[in-house]
């Protein structure tokens, strides 16, 4: 299967790549080259894992035309429960890791089932579960910070390297590839997209929209739980702030990456690239010691800009296609024998 990108997406990826390169160069220069130092690079990629994962988690709900406001809360509760189980209740640290995934999947499935059964808008359902989960997270850890010294073997994974890159970043990329393959090569993935694109048509093709919604929310929760595990493994300690700043970036990555808000599309590569951009903005904040509010301002503005630009490009492209057709038509009137040449040109 050849990898064929729609022209518009291809150019969007180029813009993202260019942004990443320029951003990295600017950061490199302004930090006097420190940014490209081994320690700084290690940190950069280590903390890129979470933006990628939560971007993917949000992308999956967007694919079915839903959204998941509870991603941060799911990740936070996962990490906190794992920390409490290991530090306070004496469980094996690796069991803590497993708990993150289970909590994420269960919370996500709960979102999905609530959306399907109550037929209440996903926005409201996940807003409610988010609030509930934040309460649970607070109840678990209160104002404590539980040190990662309690789960040294897992924390070692958080700092480990594979091929010179942080292991958790590599794992995040593997997750991204698996998600991409699932959307391309499994009927479940295609059914999610079909449900998100046109519910009625999906029903008539024998696709269960309820199943699509449940699976999408479940998968989104699972990946959010996985992001919770990554935080559990890589942060020096776990407290109630874990997941607190995930909401905006979870939307930023897929939207900047080219995922439609109305459902029916995914863009794994775009989402991963956009997560790079989000991470760069965060690095810039650290480099220039800006208030976190500036990050939100920049990312918010970029999201708006992306949506507006996408719209503009769509309009331009339909105009361009029309002009080509007009040339073919005019040719046919003026010089019938040349019409074919023009038609060929137009089809290129």
């Amino acid at each position: 299967m050849k990898l064929k990108l729609p022209a518009s997406l291809g150019s969007q990826y180029l813009v993202l790549l260019a942004t990443i390169v320029i951003g990295a160069v600017v950061l490199g220069i302004s930090s006097g080259g420190n940014f490209f130092g081994p320690v700084s690079m290690q940190t950069f990629f280590q903390f890129l894992a979470v933006p990628i994962l939560i971007g993917l988690a949000q992308m999956i709900t967007l694919a079915v035309g839903q959204l998941n406001l509870a991603i941060g809360a799911i990740g936070g509760v996962s990490a906190c429960l794992a920390a409490v189980m290991v530090a306070d209740w004496g469980f094996n640290p690796w069991l803590g890791a497993l708990v993150c995934l289970v909590v994420g999947a269960v919370a996500g499935l709960a979102n999905g089932i609530l959306v399907v059964v109550t037929k209440i808008n996903g926005f409201i359902v996940t807003l409610a579960t988010m609030t509930v989960l934040l309460g649970v997270q607070y109840a678990l850890v209160n104002t404590r910070t539980i040190s990662a010294d309690n789960w040294k073997p897992v924390a070692a994974l958080g700092k480990a390297s594979v091929l010179g890159l942080p292991a958790i970043f590599v794992i995040a990329i593997v997750v991204a590839v698996l998600v991409g393959l699932a959307f391309k090569y499994t009927t479940t993935g295609r059914h999610l997209l079909a449900s998100g694109d046109n519910e009625h048509a999906a029903t008539l093709a024998g696709i269960s929209n309820d199943r699509s919604l449940t699976i999408a929310h479940g998968a989104s929760g699972l990946i959010a739980g996985f992001a919770g595990f990554v935080s559990f493994a890589s942060l020096p300690g776990v407290n109630q702030s874990v997941g607190g700043d995930w909401l905006l970036s979870s939307f930023a990555a897929p939207i900047i990456g080219g995922v439609s808000l109305t459902g029916g599309t995914v863009a794994v590569f775009g989402t991963v690239l956009a997560a790079f951009v989000v991470r760069l903005v965060d690095s810039a904040r650290a480099e220039f010691q800006l208030a976190p509010a500036w990050v939100n301002l920049v990312i918010g503005a970029v999201i708006l800009g992306t949506v507006a630009l996408g719209r503009l490009r769509e309009n331009r492209e339909s105009t361009k296609a029309g002009m080509l057709r007009a040339r073919v038509a005019t040719h046919r009137i003026n010089a019938p024998h040349m019409a074919e040449t023009a038609a060929k040109e137009a089809s290129l």
């Binding site: 048509a201 093709a205 024998g206 029916g264 029309g322 057709r325 073919v328 009137i333 003026n334």
Partner: protein, 506 residues
Amino acid sequence: MSTPILQARNVTKTYPGVKALDNVNLTLAGGEIHALLGENGAGKSTLIKYLTGVHTADSGSLLISGAEQTFSNPSESTEAGVGVVHQERNVIREFTVAENIVLSRTPKKFGFIDWKKVNSEASRCLAMLDFDIDPSTPISKLSSAQIQLVEIARALYTDTKVLLLDEPTASISDAEAAKLFKVIHRLKDDGAAILFVSHKLDEVYAHCDTVTVLRDGKTVLSDAALADHPHDEIVNIMVGRSLASLVTPERSVNTAVDPVLELRNVTTTAGHGGISLDVRPGEILGLYGLVGAGRTELAHAILGRERITEGELLVNGKPAKIRSVKDALHDYGIGYVTESRKEEGVFLDANITRNIAATTWGKLAGPLGVVKVSDERALVEKYVQELGIRISSQDQLAGQLSGGNQQKVSLAKWLAADPKILIIDEPTIGIDVRTKRSFYELIWGLADQGLAILLISSDLAEMITLADRIAVMDSFTLAGTVENTRHYDSMSQDVIRLIHAKAPSH
């Protein structure tokens, strides 16, 4: 006689307040094309949705090849060999043509989708229709008629023993319909049972063997040989009373008057080249062409939704600068009754008053922009009466009306804005015989009042009935304009000849 392939017995389906199907019976035998006829709202689509597992019935039974079946969802009916093309378009716009065709049963290898097979299977189905399109084209690039063909191809994908076609020819050209009928006859010869729903009775008589007629959810004629029931009789059975034959009024257009709308050698961003045409007050100019000829797009260019890059658009002899539908309506008095009433013509969730008055709020509004409800209601009532729109009250939601009445609401909305030029795009798609006639009379009436009408239609018979002149389009150019003599045979030959004269040689 052998066992019928599909048998529905005493099917009853009740919606709150309406008995959509009342003890309906239908028998489809193999090697037979069976017409299902009835006016809008008679229950045809509901019956098809029952037969394909989209809806369940309150009572009744369904037998496929003699074995009782209950379909609780559409995939079960597909598995049982029932293929269907529903009346409304049902595609996944983000997917390719190929994937839409195989969606109900995507080919897999080792548990994963086999994309090569997806495309080859789709090509096989498209080839049956002689539909020359790359299966990897995204659906969003297709016109609505092309999408219709994709849906037909989809119905042919699974081993279809029964093919249910709900108005498959409503939005495709005669040439495409001819291809479709070729396929239908081939399936028939292979022993499939075909159910064919259409409002075009000519087609029905040309291709169908047997007929069932529904009226108000009841079977009023059951599994009869079509040859035993002539055209007029069938119409009478459908409407439940005798209908006088349609009389075309004497039409005369004053050719001394200057055209009110004129295009001179127009090129557009939609892709038209060198289009010249004109419409006089009181004239009905037909715009005919095959699917994809650029008719609707030309209307969009006139309305400013596409830009005119070369040539001139004149209204009342003066060059017009139209940048939006709003400009077109308010500055130049051009109204546009859209092709797809559900998507563009009416606000389904709004009441009748709001729907019809929507174009007039600017005019009705007082100094503070407030519209008096009583003014609104009075204006709307006038059009409800004039057009004979059947509603229980103005508070009824447009979505609850039948297709024909929705179309009238859409028309009323534009008439309320008092246009001088009216573009009417495919006015009678999916509309029953009786409503169609009242529409024809309405359109003649509007022309008699001095309105210039640009009529877009894919139905050549309708074109020849209504238009004074017919402009034939092909591939975004004008193939020519012919005076309408109203002799169907010679006119249709003229029109088809124009299209073929322009077609590029291969």
